[in-house]
């Protein structure tokens, strides 16, 4: 069955464009407008049931469904990767119900839905990045009362958040929070940047693209308009720092990217690879190579054997085929 046949069938089955009904989409768009007008403020919205469980990106999907059009190009990433279950399924879902082209290339996408990462490639004006948010309230772990949390936001009483950083330093000697690192948006609202690693926090500051955040279970939407100040909290004598790795990406040799640790065997063999799969693949296509450490190379060879070279060739061809398909889809639309 071709992609085109699948698309018609989704609509013929009675699904509205982009799955949600028009009234719901209008309601969510109104909330998005409010969120953009008050950067960092959590706007409650009437969250709908989506055809996947909470925690899998229902909030992000509802935001995407409300803003997507037929001339958009969608990229979906999960922990930076385009080819993980969550990303593949959400991408396929929108390809079926919204009949628009999808891509893995960051610069080609008009909408990027993401779980837990900001792409390594810089985003441009006119692009929209939609974050899937599990817990929108940065104060939740410290202050369980919702009314009290809202008052603290309303009166800008954020001393308590600082207490959690104090606790980190008292226990570990440094601010050990490595993801979901709290930020101040527009010098007004305390905001959870979703569980992105704090490595990505500096990217959010003065960001040219529109950033939207959707929390499905908690039914909250918030936003950072383009070119807004986003500052990570810290202490004067313990300034904000991002993670650093002693190694470079083992596949593409990138030095300044967020790396995932990949365990290769039970003998301690491991390698670090870029978490942004598109960025890494593009660099490899450009001819960059990483140095798999000797032990890792051995382990890698043991794990995938002689097929390793063959597999990477296949992968490159698959990528190419998929890109061609995306191009065709675009022409078709």
């Amino acid at each position: 069955m071709t992609a085109a046949q699948q698309q018609t069938s989704a609509v013929e089955e009675g699904y509205n464009f982009a799955y949600l009904d028009e009234q719901t989409k209008r309601m969510i768009r109104r909330c998005i407008l409010k969120a953009v007008a008050v950067p960092g403020y959590q706007v409650p919205f009437g969250g709908r049931e989506m055809p996947l469980p909470y925690g899998w990106g229902t909030g992000g999907m509802q935001v995407t469904a409300s803003i997507i059009g037929r001339d958009d190009t969608l990229k979906v990433i999960d922990q930076g990767a385009d080819d993980t279950t969550n990303a593949v399924n959400i991408r396929r879902f929108f390809a079926r119900v919204a009949e628009m082209p999808t891509t893995e290339a960051t610069d080609e996408a008009t909408i990027i839905q993401t779980r837990h990462r900001v792409p390594e490639d810089p985003l441009a004006e006119g692009q929209i990045i939609v974050y899937q948010v599990p817990q929108p309230e940065p104060l939740r772990k410290l202050e369980p009362r919702e009314i009290e949390c809202r008052k603290m936001h309303a009166y800008k009483e954020y001393g308590l958040m600082q207490v959690s950083l104090y606790e980190d330093i008292a226990r570990f000697g440094e601010i050990a929070t490595s993801y979901s690192y709290p930020v101040m948006v527009n010098d007004r609202y305390l905001m959870s940047p979703t569980p992105i690693p704090k490595f990505d926090n500096p990217k959010m500051d003065d960001f040219p693209a529109l950033q939207l955040f959707g929390a499905g279970r908690e039914k909250r939407i918030y936003a950072i308009p383009p070119y807004t100040t986003v500052k990570s909290l810290d202490f004067d004598d313990h300034p904000f720092e991002v993670q650093q790795w002693e190694e470079d990406c083992a596949l593409c040799g990138a030095e300044e990217t967020f790396l995932d640790e990949v365990i290769l065997d039970d003998q301690g063999g491991k390698m670090y690879v870029c978490s942004d799969s598109h960025y890494c693949a593009r660099r490899r296509a450009e001819g960059h190579t990483g140095t798999l450490s000797e032990s890792a190379a051995r382990a890698y060879a043991r794990a995938v054997g002689a097929a390793a070279g063959q597999a990477s060739d296949d992968k490159a061809q698959n990528d190419k085929a998929q890109n061609d398909k995306a191009q065709n889809d675009k022409v078709g639309a």
């Binding site: 001393g159 207490v163 810290d234």
Partner: protein, 259 residues
Amino acid sequence: MNANTPLLRVRNLTHAFGHVLACSDVSFELHGGEVLGIVGESGSGKTTLLNCISARLAPTNGVVEYDLRTKGLTDIYALSEPERRLLLRTDWGVVMQNPRDGLRMDVSAGGNVGERLMAVGARHYGAIRHEAEDWLQKVELDLGRMDDKPKHFSGGMQQRLQIARNLVTKPRLVFMDEPTGGLDVSVQARLLDLLRGLVRELRLSAIIVTHDLAVARLLADRLMVMKDGKVVETGLTDQVLDDPHHPYTQLLVSSVLQV
């Protein structure tokens, strides 16, 4: 501050929960450096009165005025809510009867003391920690327990930590609701000794609610005796306890067990 201006002035304060009158027509003044004890039996409206004058429960009727550093004598319920909350965090302190209400049980002792400093904008970890250490020493808590959580502390330690947490922003007025409730007598004695020292040393004003006349005798300059929501007798502590006039005060004083 004018010597004649009271720090806190309460006029005709009345609070009713539905048809239950918790405290009725209470008026008094508190001056700088003065410690006022409120005594009375359970259910006489002591805690309700304390909640009303410490800006945590809007009274049904009456006025509570406080001598703000910037504005002078001001009706605290005419302030906006953020101003009132700021007042509670800076110029005032509230020591709860149950330390669980006044402390963050999952935050280390140092963090509990530092929270108020961070709430008013302190952003230097070293300075915050130093200040916290200083206060833990003042309330005689072992610095080795600074990074432990208060849920692992004894009742007396929790109460002392609560005091340190409240005094760290150098408040002028502290409200205490049964500060020695639930503690055994030897721990009570040490806590009272500590409180008396701090109050004298820092020239604190305090309002202490208690049903324990011994606590009142040790800490308070003046006493207010409450019964059924009304103030039945006021006066200097020694005068009220040694020469009680109202029949209820006489009963109260004579009910104290002599060992």
